[in-house]
Symmetry: C2
Subunit: 477 residues, 2 copies
Amino acid sequence: MQIDKSNFSEWYNTIIKDAELCDLRYGVKGFVVFMPWSVMTMKKMYDRYEEVLERNEHVPAWFPALIPESYFMKEADHVEGFAPEVMWVTEAGRNKLEEKLGMRPTSETAMYSMYSLWIHGVKDLPLKIYHPSQVWRYETKATKPFIRSREFYWIEAHDVFATEEQAMQQVREDMEMAEEVIHQKFGVPFLFFKRPQWDKFAGAVNTFAADTLMPDGRTLQLPSTHMLGQNFAKAFDVKFTDDDGESKYCWQTCYGPAISRIYAAVIATHGDEKGLVLPFDLAPVQIVIVPIIKGENTEKVMAKCLEVKEKFSQFKVKLDDSENTPGFKYNYWEMKGVPVRLEIGERDIESKSVMLVRRDMKAKVKVPEADLTNAIENASKEIQKNLVEKADEWFGKQLGKAKTMDELKAALDKQGFVRVPFCTDEMHGKECAEKVKEATHANMRGSLFGSKEKPKDEKCIACGKKAEIYLYAARQY
Amino acid sequence: MQIDKSNFSEWYNTIIKDAELCDLRYGVKGFVVFMPWSVMTMKKMYDRYEEVLERNEHVPAWFPALIPESYFMKEADHVEGFAPEVMWVTEAGRNKLEEKLGMRPTSETAMYSMYSLWIHGVKDLPLKIYHPSQVWRYETKATKPFIRSREFYWIEAHDVFATEEQAMQQVREDMEMAEEVIHQKFGVPFLFFKRPQWDKFAGAVNTFAADTLMPDGRTLQLPSTHMLGQNFAKAFDVKFTDDDGESKYCWQTCYGPAISRIYAAVIATHGDEKGLVLPFDLAPVQIVIVPIIKGENTEKVMAKCLEVKEKFSQFKVKLDDSENTPGFKYNYWEMKGVPVRLEIGERDIESKSVMLVRRDMKAKVKVPEADLTNAIENASKEIQKNLVEKADEWFGKQLGKAKTMDELKAALDKQGFVRVPFCTDEMHGKECAEKVKEATHANMRGSLFGSKEKPKDEKCIACGKKAEIYLYAARQY
């Protein structure tokens, strides 16, 4: 069976269902059940992200899922931004609660109320804590499994520093972690944009967000890292006594890789017409062995399959000894995205070889048994390299340019991110962004982080005034 | 500083605070903040439990935190048991919800509504799924960090079988996993009791619970495994078509190791008058290096310390290069429970040796540098062995016997579990249990699993009728 990826939305829904990643039939709207095949990979993704966070001196902590309403109220922009999405606990057992408790949509207000108790002097800084958790947001937009649901799985890291410079350095470290984990390990390319002021995180000074692209050219936001400045420090009284004896407000950052959403990007980036394609490291089953059995040779073939399985116990190996036909098994494990398939039949045993098939390639390769260890190790590396390269190659072609609304509309049909001259990314540019949205259905994702390009003698695509900045437009999930 | 463990409650609270395990100052009653030092260990505990669950063919899945009220209502005993403790979401954003959503106190009703969609035939069985998660119960009893709070961290495993026998075999496997993980790896001894009918899990046919003992002789329930029979299968229509073509209700079990509570048992079992004592495998820092610096030799000593640190990168090593005195550092890391301390000063460098101190022993041992690898590997094994043996030795003395209320009262002052002759563990024994509770403050924990002992010509300790069974009494947390 072939699933047409050019109809991305339909393709995606088919994969979710046929590869058994998610069940949408749970009885609460916007909540889904994450099924074993996706959870096994997402658990690995958590591990990989946490390893890198810990290498960068973060430590884990667990904060409560419930936040008192009064905590939310402390930072005015924050409460305004999140109030429409918070789910409230108002009863416990048979009693009404005195104060409403919000299910965390994000944990700034829960964590910083404690940070103000934990931080006293310079020796307490930097404080770098990550919390692997779920958050709940009562989305009003249409939900789509892994991409947007009312419950999602993420890590939030909340860091505190003595100086603005150190905080800005953390923002860059957050970006580097995204590059290492999401791009290099998971094979998902993205660009970091500095969001315009009208689209930043509620309470932040600046938001820097990693945007990837789905195969249909629409953008999906992956982790964002936020320079919070001293906004929350002032609201929550997060202060330290500096070496000069003065009490000063701290500088803060926060960072939120949503594992369940990054998983959506993994599906979308690598999958093909046969189903999921998983990076070797993330696959719940890395190698599937399919015995080719013909009547009386069953015992001999199964013995060899078992022998091979035992030999590669450092990998996750599945021997498919079900009663299905080999063809059925090929399709099944291709849909599941298993990176390496080994086929073993009587003829292979006679020629002391094994048939090796890589999920990301079409060709079957006959491998002498003696070379199998090497062949599998090479395959695991080659698959990783190939997936990253293929993704990068496509992504690299997705940057366009436009100077007028008509050019932008035309460009957006061909490319994901289109650079346009814009009057400003300050708050008063919002009106121009709304004009762009109306005319082209595209959002202004912001300026490309690290880019020094600046318009000269160009006009804002929306208002026609002098363009001060280049912003990138994209249609969005 | 010495902390007197014979006053257990005060000792426990001091450790929680001084080792920085938990912060009780969060703004919602019964909710605590789990601080990095405890979370690093509890994450390891999750890993260890999940490894064993997966070896026993469980796969992970993530189910929603919110359960519709209508799901709860499907199993009558279950809803009655949990209704007083459920926290309810009734509002989202600025809207009232049409149906109240309960924050999961346990996930039977969420999971089995899906199981009924997932299970069709024999090939779908057994289904063995675990969910690492938090649950929320609005406890009315006094809360105590890690031991009992309104939010706790656990794993729940929910398994489905074709036959009652297979389900009962799973109950035994659950017990074996507890033995391997909690006893052998974490060093916490316990006994499995079959709970009396009046104290079983709401909706179960039978509950088997692992009870450990705190140093004050009071019991704490660790994981319980429940034989659910077909109760939930009937309520949630979990059926399969058997090989004979007939549609049959499945047999189910569930199992719930509460990681945060098991952590309490680890603290209580191993800790001493200097603070935490952690098993080598669970310690966030396994080896701390304390440089012994005197003025001008700083550089030389620090270089050696760094060399040793690098050499043991397979362990979690902390080099304490702070400005505190060695004595301060000893106390600090002893409070934190770090299993191995290495002291390195100029004299040690000259004699090509290192001073090694085990947290679980008093003696300092001078180890030639060349033997250090061996010495550390041995220490890691010896510490584990010693902690388990010490715990077992104490626990082994905690079984008593009594035949009258007066004997029981006296025995409970000396031993944790006291065996008494009892009329029955069926529902109508509840009245007798209440009499015991009133007279001795002890609960009937049930009959010892696997024991064949039976009273002959004895009388129930409470009603004086013929005793049919031995039950164990214990004072409880």
